[in-house]
């Protein structure tokens, strides 16, 4: 099989592949920068927590409107916001650190969600229904992901400076500005929106995976935050593209294929990365004169 046949032909021949690629592009552009900030703020596990936290919202949506994706997604968004904002507020105003705060709220949320679902009596795996598949991108979902990406990039650009300062020296920002708390909360809101939209369109694995893994990869190649973001986006794009090709040529399911490629890139970065990679550490080469 020629390179062309392997890498290009599937996308020319099948519309669902083109749509999947479009979804990857949108997801990478929005998710990767958010993932970088999550990693820098030590919130890498928030994606998983959020996947469970949205359950009561989805459950209430289900109770009110049945298996209506829009209702459940809206419910999920509201639940996600509530958990994220509450956790953020508690960690800002009390001594409790963000990760503990988030853990408490998401667990409470999950318990609430499970209770609500079992009250209704049906055993439908709600989350399974709520979580989508990258091979099934219809017009509406693509539109939502694209809008999400645009909004995320714009908002990130706006809160970029206060978010960076708040991440590196929060006390300083507090003394010179009131922007710290809003920037933090807006960031959390962005995280929730990206995650919920990501879940609904693509499932947990892809939504969280394409946020966190590229950030991890970038860490081994750049020392500066702009560089981190660029490399993260590129890694996400490459993983998405290669994963789709892999899923097309083998029988690997699409979501896991993409994440496996990303994980492979990550392992390669751990070994060979120019910033702190293991090989560099073991064989540093001759030291410089000054």
């Amino acid at each position: 099989m020629s390179i062309y046949e392997a890498l290009i032909a599937p996308f020319l021949e099948f519309e669902f592949m083109r749509r999947a690629l479009a979804a990857i592009i949108a997801l990478s552009l929005a998710g990767a920068p958010i993932g970088v900030f999550l990693m820098l703020r030590r919130m890498s596990l928030v994606g998983d927590a959020m996947a469970h936290a949205i359950l009561p919202g989805a459950a209430i949506g289900f109770l009110l409107s049945g298996l209506n994706l829009f209702a459940m997604t809206t419910g999920g968004l509201i639940a996600g916001f509530t958990v994220a904002i509450l956790a953020g507020l508690v960690s800002r105003t009390t001594g409790l650190k963000e990760d503990a705060s988030l853990a408490t709220f998401y667990l409470a949320s999950l318990a609430l969600g499970v209770s609500i679902v079992s009250l209704k009596g049906s055993n439908i795996d709600l989350l399974h229904v709520l979580f989508g598949n990258i091979l099934a991108m219809d017009d509406q979902t693509l539109l939502v992901i694209a809008a999400n990406a645009t909004i995320t990039l714009v908002v990130l650009a706006v809160i970029y400076r206060p978010l960076v300062i708040e991440s590196v020296d929060p006390l300083f920002l507090r003394t010179v500005s009131r922007a710290g708390a809003p920037a933090h909360l807006i960031f959390l809101a962005l995280v929730v929106i990206n995650l919920v939209n990501g879940f609904q369109a693509l499932g947990t694995l892809l939504a969280v995976g394409l946020m966190i893994l590229p950030a991890g990869i970038a860490r081994f190649w750049s020392r500066d935050i702009t560089g981190l973001i660029c490399i993260a986006v590129v890694s996400a794009l490459i993983s998405g593209y290669a994963g789709l090709v892999l899923s097309f040529q083998t029988r690997l399911p699409s979501g896991p294929a993409i994440i496996l490629v990303a994980a492979g890139l990550y392992m390669a970065s751990v070994l060979f990365g120019s910033v702190g990679g293991l090989v560099r550490q073991l064989f540093p080469g001759r030291h410089l004169e000054a």
Partner: protein, 291 residues
């Protein structure tokens, strides 16, 4: 005088027999809604039927809550499908300590596939449904000998209805031009239907509702639908419909209605009983595939 004595005797018999009929109803638990429907049709008002997996539920991935153990413990008869459908059941039976008799409704059915690969949806063929009904009837009779005749009569009547249903399905299928007797469905649950009635079901996902397709699988389906000119795509009341919609869009195939395979709907839905379910399915098929 004779008339009076005769009346007394009849009365005595009536009163004597009454206790038999006034005995408690048989507690029967069925694993899911389709089996429960069968039991109700045969058992009538002599049985209390409870279905563990309710309407619109997913019997493949059911996790029984604690109340189920109580329900099972109180049952005298448990009706299961078998053929690997209820992976969650053995543990429930064990932990409930139930003394109930367990009857496998699919005994005697010629299964598609072997062992863990077996397709459990045998009820999709009406002929198999009749086997189920006979098994259930026999089990009810053994459990409640006093009502044996009652059960047998009900079963007789119901089997006749099933016969009529089977003929109905075959007549409808005959109306579909042979080259159009193929559909895509998301759930590989219609193997027995296919074997019995000749409509080919091609599915993008595996037997249970959980496996995720690869891009290659999806591409293969699309290619096949286009190549074989498969006319219709059907949804199923449990799994991810968006993928099926995408395939329909890309192939130009017609999006059929919903086919019900693994459970009945509630009272208000289109498939509240087994017979209604089969009728609904065949109507949906003919309207999508018809000439």
């Amino acid at each position: 005088m004779d008339g009076f004595r005769a009346a007394l005797v009849v009365l005595a018999m009536a009163f004597g027999a009454a206790p038999l009929h006034a005995t408690e109803r048989l507690n029967v638990v069925a694993s899911f809604s389709i089996l429960a429907d069968f039991v109700r049709n045969i058992g009538g008002d002599r049985v209390n039927v409870t279905s563990l997996v309710g309407p619109n539920g997913d019997v493949h991935v059911y996790t029984p809550p604690p109340q189920d153990a109580k329900i099972v413990a109180a049952a005298q008869l448990v009706v299961i499908n078998g053929l690997g459908l209820e992976g969650w059941l053995p543990r429930l039976l064990q932990s409930s300590g139930s003394k109930a008799v367990v009857v496998t409704a699919s005994n005697g059915v010629d299964p598609l596939g072997r062992g863990s690969e077996a397709d459990p949806h045998a009820w999709q063929s009406v002929a198999n449904a009749k086997i189920y009904v006979r098994n259930i009837r026999d089990a009810l009779v053994r459990a409640d000998v006093a009502d044996a005749d009652y059960f047998r009569q009900n079963a007789e009547r119901y089997l006749a209805e099933l016969d009529a249903l089977d003929r109905e399905v075959r007549d409808e299928v005959a109306k579909i031009p042979p080259e159009r007797r193929k559909v895509i469905s998301t759930h590989r649950a219609f193997g027995y239907f296919e074997k019995a009635y000749g409509i080919a079901f091609i599915a993008p996902l595996g037997v249970s509702t959980e496996t995720e397709p690869s891009a290659r699988d999806v591409a293969a389906i699309i290619t096949q639908v286009k190549k074989d000119r498969i006319p219709a795509i059907f949804l199923e009341n449990i799994s991810d419909e968006r993928l099926v919609r995408r395939i329909a869009e890309e192939t130009g195939a017609k999006l059929g209605g919903t086919l019900f395979s693994d459970s009945l709907t509630g009272e208000k839905g289109p498939a509240p009983t087994y017979i209604a379910m089969v009728r609904h399915n065949i109507k949906a098929l003919t309207s999508a595939l018809g000439p």
